[in-house]
């Protein structure tokens, strides 16, 4: 499966299938509810590699993710539009759009055994804007 991540804010961050290794999407609902709860949230966890540029290629934009994670809450730029696509066999399996996403966690990990670093980004949609979240998928891409 291949993934595409696009983050649109003051600047645009695009990460492709070479970088992203996994995507986890979770709907957060209190599990002790007796009937459908209004307390609804959604979380996306994205894991990937931090690659080193070789042969004069431009550096990947994972550093921009780290910078986004550090934007203070007072700055409007902390909310960005995130699109996550899952692609397999020329089919768009999923396309998630979070128009007001913010970072709740960002981690980078480096060791002397690997040639690449890894990152984990956890984002949430602003809870009062949950109705704007869209889920599409199941169509072929040209």
């Amino acid at each position: 499966m291949g993934f595409k991540l696009k983050v649109e804010g003051n600047s645009t961050i695009e990460l492709d299938k070479e970088i992203i290794t996994g995507v986890k999407i979770k709907t957060d609902i209190p599990q002790d509810s007796n009937a459908r709860s209004t307390d609804l949230g959604s979380t996306i966890t994205i894991t990937g590699k931090v690659l080193t540029a070789v042969d004069g290629d431009p550096f990947d934009s994972t550093r921009q993710l780290g910078l986004w994670a550090l934007v203070p809450a007072e700055n409007a730029d902390c909310y960005r539009k995130v699109t996550v696509e899952v692609i397999s066999a020329s089919q768009e399996v999923r396309k998630y759009t979070f128009p007001n996403a913010f970072v709740v966690d960002y981690k980078e990990n480096y060791g002397d055994l690997e040639g690449t670093g890894t990152f984990t980004l956890i984002i949430k949609q602003k809870k009062d804007k949950m109705a704007q979240v869209s889920v599409e998928g199941g169509y072929s891409i040209a």
């Binding site: 499966m1 291949g2 993934f3 299938k17 992203i20 290794t21 996994g22 995507v23 986890k24 999407i25 979770k26 709907t27 609902i29 209190p30 599990q31 509810s33 007796n34 009937a35 459908r36 709860s37 209004t38 609804l40 959604s42 899952v86 397999s88 066999a89 089919q91 399996v93 999923r94 949950m130 109705a131 979240v133 889920v135 599409e136 998928g137 199941g138 169509y139």
Partner: protein
């Protein structure tokens, strides 16, 4: 064993044995009760695969599950009728009908190492409608 899940609401979701990998059904009763408690609930966990359509077939219904998990509590459509069939050797081992089910947890997991994603759907029967839950089985498949 094969498992089939059918969900009826504003739209019908039908998932067959090719996509469902596991079903767990349980009764939620306070474990610290001294005598039979009236506080009775039921939770159903459904696990399965998110398959990418090949050869021009239609996409599976899993994206409808993701959309159902995001339906706000103010809409009647957040409660749907769920029917689970456990089929083995042309026998219906169990047929569980949860007529007023709502979502308490939904997760999707995709990695670059597998060709199919996975989902986990956790649903509950509306607590005040527990008597409508049907637990049947032990008859042959028509």
């Amino acid at each position: 064993m094969g498992m089939r899940v059918n969900i009826e609401g504003s739209e019908t979701v039908s998932l067959l044995e090719t996509s469902i990998t596991g079903v767990r059904v349980g009764a939620d009763i306070p474990l610290d009760s001294n005598a039979r408690s009236t506080d009775l609930g039921s939770t159903v966990l459904i696990e399965g695969k998110i398959l990418a359509p090949v050869g021009g077939e239609a996409a599976d219904d899993t994206s409808k599950l993701a959309k159902w998990s995001l339906v706000p509590a103010e809409k009647a459509d957040c409660y749907r009728k769920v029917k689970i069939d456990v089929v083995s050797a042309s026998q219906i081992v169990r047929q569980i009908t949860v007529p007023n089910a709502f979502v308490v947890g939904y997760e999707e997991d995709f990695t670059d190492e597998t060709g199919a994603g996975t989902f986990k759907l956790l649903i509950k029967q509306k607590r005040d409608k527990m008597s409508n839950l049907k637990f049947e089985g032990g008859f042959s498949e028509e």
